[in-house]
Amino acid sequence: MSQKMATRHAIAETLLKIAREDARIVVVTSDARGSAGIEGFFRELPERTVEVGIAEQAAIGVAAGLALSRKKAYVFGPACFYSARGFEQVKNDVAYTGSNVKVIAVSGGVSYGPLGSTHHSLHDIAALRAIPGIDVILPSDALQATAITQMLVESEKPAYVRVGRNPIPVIYEPQSRFEHGKGVLLREGKEVAIIATGEVVWHALEAAQLLLEVGVNATVVDMPFLKPFDQDLIVEIANRHERIVTVEEHSIYGGLGEVVLHCLAQGPSCSVKIIGIPDEYPITGTQAQVYAHYGLDSRGIQNAVLDFLQRMG
């Protein structure tokens, strides 16, 4: 886990590579070329880009119109705006209409750190999952983001892909393979299973390492697809573990934790602890500081697991 890369850059670079061959790919953005890392696309394939200015609603609507004209439309911009300001367009023009638009929502969660809650998107999993007809995906590293970008190009279905802003460790191998709608068992342990999504997955892996040092052997599962959700894998994990800890850069309401609980309500009994952002506007600080404050980093996950095991003990 020494190499680091921002997932948003992995997506932008992969898409440009594919777009050189696939003329149907077009990119729409709302004055977010820099933050989305798509200047390269704009430079190299300007005739296949649409800049709409600071107007997220227009960006999604225009993308839907392009998609309905047989384009593969990619909208790049901040998650906070596309999951809120442009939400009705995502619901109606994209998901309900069934137009092949992929929303690449960058700088998600608390990536913008001290900029505050206007710029955070801690509700997007809950909001997007409640709309039929759109996949909800949170890649956990640059290599997975690359593989998912390839997957998106081959699918005609709408998707909302939430990525972060900052470089994060690469946890997969270039030859790692991913399946649409499937979770990934990263580490097989036994006392507890840590299930995570998005850019906190590497923290979960690190936490497992820390836990091993104190004699706890944790399973780690990466769930990039929040929708469709790999319920079978969760049930299987619950069958083999008495305790599950979920970790997500999202509100504790309506996110991964609740989705896992939903699976378990119909399956094996298992104690679950949800680590996420509580029902409050987060404290001011960098993303790393906010993670630490709410226990989303490796140290916080480790402590929560130990506490959980002791309490359940």
Binding site: L66, L68, Y96, T97
Partner: protein, 286 residues
């Protein structure tokens, strides 16, 4: 032209019956927009009911999705789907929902939430430019709809990209659900607003089929500019007791009201039949 005028009256009768049967619908706005739809669908647009997704087709987006009854009646009349389905409008399981969806052959995009259609039309128009396809994109908006900020976002994008293959149409019936547009929230000067946003604006009587067809056929009047047809209409047009009454925005005609309305429209049909002055102008091939 007479055939076209008769068609518009017939469609008014159809849509009133649909609304009555379904006990649901938007009477006033459907009646005000019928002539615009008739001009587009029977005379102006290049479409093929046997190939709804034909790539060269002209695109139509009903941004004021609530005026759906006349739209469905036209699509059925043109053969996009069997006419019998109109009787199931809004019924359990019918694909004819109270706002248009792509389940209906001929419908391009699911609408109903106001302020969405223009941006989608802009995307279609940009795609047409990218692919050097000659099709045009028509987007019909309500006047009350122009309160949505997203309309003006899309208007800016259209002007920026010089989309002369895009025609916005405003059904300017001066009413919205709670009253006169100018009292609810002033819209005027609408023509100046659109001009200021970089659009070429044309005013037209939205019930004069000959003028409507003539206007649409002139597009593009100016290269590199999107076009806005400000169609001045009467909400509830065609039925005296429905015209200009805000209550009829989504009031459903009762048995008796339907009877009186159909009587009026039948009378108009007869008068038209006997009016030789409307004969002769361009034979309609519909």
């Amino acid at each position: 032209m007479k055939t076209l005028m008769k068609k518009a009256i017939q469609l008014r009768m159809d849509l009133l019956q649909m609304i009555h049967r379904a006990n649901s619908g938007h009477t006033g706005g459907s009646l005000s927009s019928v002539d615009i739809l008739v001009a587009l669908f029977y005379r102006v647009m290049r479409i093929d009911p046997t190939r709804p997704l034909w790539e060269e087709r002209d695109r139509f987006v009903l941004s004021k999705g609530h005026s759906v009854e006349g739209y469905y009646a036209i699509l059925a009349d043109l053969g996009f789907f069997p006419k019998e389905e109109l009787e199931r409008y809004c019924r359990l399981g019918s694909f004819l929902t109270g706002h248009p969806t792509r389940k209906v052959p001929g419908v391009e995009v699911n609408t109903g939430a106001l302020g969405h259609g223009l941006a989608v039309g802009v995307g279609m128009a940009i795609a047409g430019k990218m692919d050097s396809k000659p099709y045009k994109v028509y987007v019909l908006m309500g006047d009350g709809e122009l309160g949505e900020g997203s309309v003006w976002e899309a208007a800016q994008v259209a002007a920026h990209y010089g989309l002369d293959n895009l025609v916005g149409i405003v059904d300017r019936n001066r009413l919205q659900i709670s009253g006169y547009t100018e009292e609810v929230l002033r819209l005027e000067n609408l023509a100046e607003k659109w001009r200021a946003f970089g659009w070429e604006v044309v005013n037209v009587d939205g019930h004069d089929l000959e003028r409507l067809v003539g206007t649409f056929e002139k597009v593009p009047i100016l290269a590199k500019k999107p076009h806005l047809v400000l169609a001045h209409t009467v909400k509830g047009k065609g039925v005296s007791f429905i015209e200009n009454k805000k209550e009829w925005h989504h009031h459903v005609p009762s048995e008796e009201e339907l009877r009186r309305a159909l009587e009026e429209l039948n009378r108009q049909l007869e008068e038209l039949e006997n009016d030789v002055s409307k004969d002769g102008y361009k034979t309609c091939n519909c």
